[in-house]
Subunit: 229 residues, 2 copies
């Protein structure tokens, strides 16, 4: 029986670590893919490597893509990361931490690797409920990407296979994600979610990503094992 | 009146140079985008820069994306580029020079830059008639990408703008592309099409890309000004 392979986008954060664990639990041989895209919070690549090792993935590839050439986002330039916002404030409009076409670029690269591996399954930790400010986290975007991917590749044409973009967290709240991960034995102490961590990797506890994460753990009644400043 | 901007994918070859000229002729301020993706024929980046300068583009960005991590194609690995094939042979199946998900990756990055620039127009020199072996050169792929792009971005959602992927060559033969370019005054001596050029940039004259190019010029009754070994 041939190995069932999946490419999993892995940032080293709470969501993608949970998704990688789900993929493994579903019987996939996991090929973890991270990006060095000029992000200010580059330390997440170390966390991604640690998570990949803990999960026993088949391979962890880090692809360099220089998105800084485009500018226009707090995550890859010198714009300040907003702190202390309410969930209400976060949910209005597209945040400045938005990286133009990020999930499109990342999924496109995942598709390239998947085709090379003969894998039709790609896992992505997007989440539409708790954080709806990013257009490329919505189910209709994922569905459109999947349609496009099947037209783009040999897999989707010659072989009669179907590319599938799995987003197991898309309809879950952060609380439900934490609960799912705990039930699968995820060690969230290995993960980092912060947009603006200290040099030693301690999370700021005040950016949108930290606040949503802390809220999820609090609602799940679990202590967040991540280090905070 | 605000400037009408377009991102144009520019490889320095015959097709993309013609497309960039078409975009300029349609009144767009051209932002040319090339990729350093580990291609063996890296010399095309010098040709792209020369074409960009000759066209007077607003900016020419070269984005590094390391596709070599994925392997699986003659254009980025050590597999030999096929030589001396008939057009009949080229039209069967997907050629080994296929780069997995290449147009998906390149269009995704173009979309990111377009969004940063506030540009809704992206030009791409794909051509479905003379060379149908690549799934990501087909009109149905382009249409699906456009649909996805409008769901992926702020432009396609908040602002009520529409992302448009322009493929002015998609239904043209190589002969018609040469004729179009000549009518617009394109200097094809600045371009390079070869998959396997000599170190000084002279084209091999025998790979699929050279053979299709030479056929196009011959049928248009024009002498190809490119240098051949």
């Amino acid at each position: 029986m041939s190995e069932k392979r999946a490419v999993v986008l892995l940032s080293g954060g709470l969501d993608s670590t949970t998704v990688a664990t789900v993929a493994k639990q579903q019987g996939f041989a996991v090929y973890a893919l991270s990006f060095d895209y000029g992000q200010n919070h580059r330390i997440e690549l170390e966390y991604a490597a640690r998570v990949a090792a803990a999960l026993g993935v088949v391979r962890h590839a880090v692809v360099k893509v220089d998105l800084r050439a485009f500018g226009g986002s707090a995550l890859t330039s010198d714009v300040a990361v907003p702190k202390g916002r309410s969930v209400e404030e976060m949910s209005h409009g597209v945040p400045v931490t938005y990286v133009p076409a990020r999930n499109t670029v990342f999924l496109a690269l995942a598709l390239g690797w998947a085709e090379t591996l003969g894998a039709t399954d790609i896992f992505l930790g997007v989440n539409a409920l708790d954080y709806s400010g990013y257009p490329d986290c919505r189910p209709e975007f994922i569905a459109a990407f999947e349609t496009m991917a099947n037209l783009a590749t040999k897999m989707g044409t010659e072989d009669g296979k179907q590319v599938r973009i799995h987003t197991p967290l898309i309809a879950l709240t952060k609380r439900e994600i934490v609960e799912l991960g705990m039930s699968l034995g995820v060690d969230y102490g290995l993960t980092i979610t912060c947009y603006d961590p200290a040099e030693d990797g301690a999370a700021c506890g005040a950016c949108d990503a930290c606040l949503l994460r802390l809220k999820g753990f609090a609602e799940a009644g679990v202590e967040d094992p991540a280090r905070y400043v």
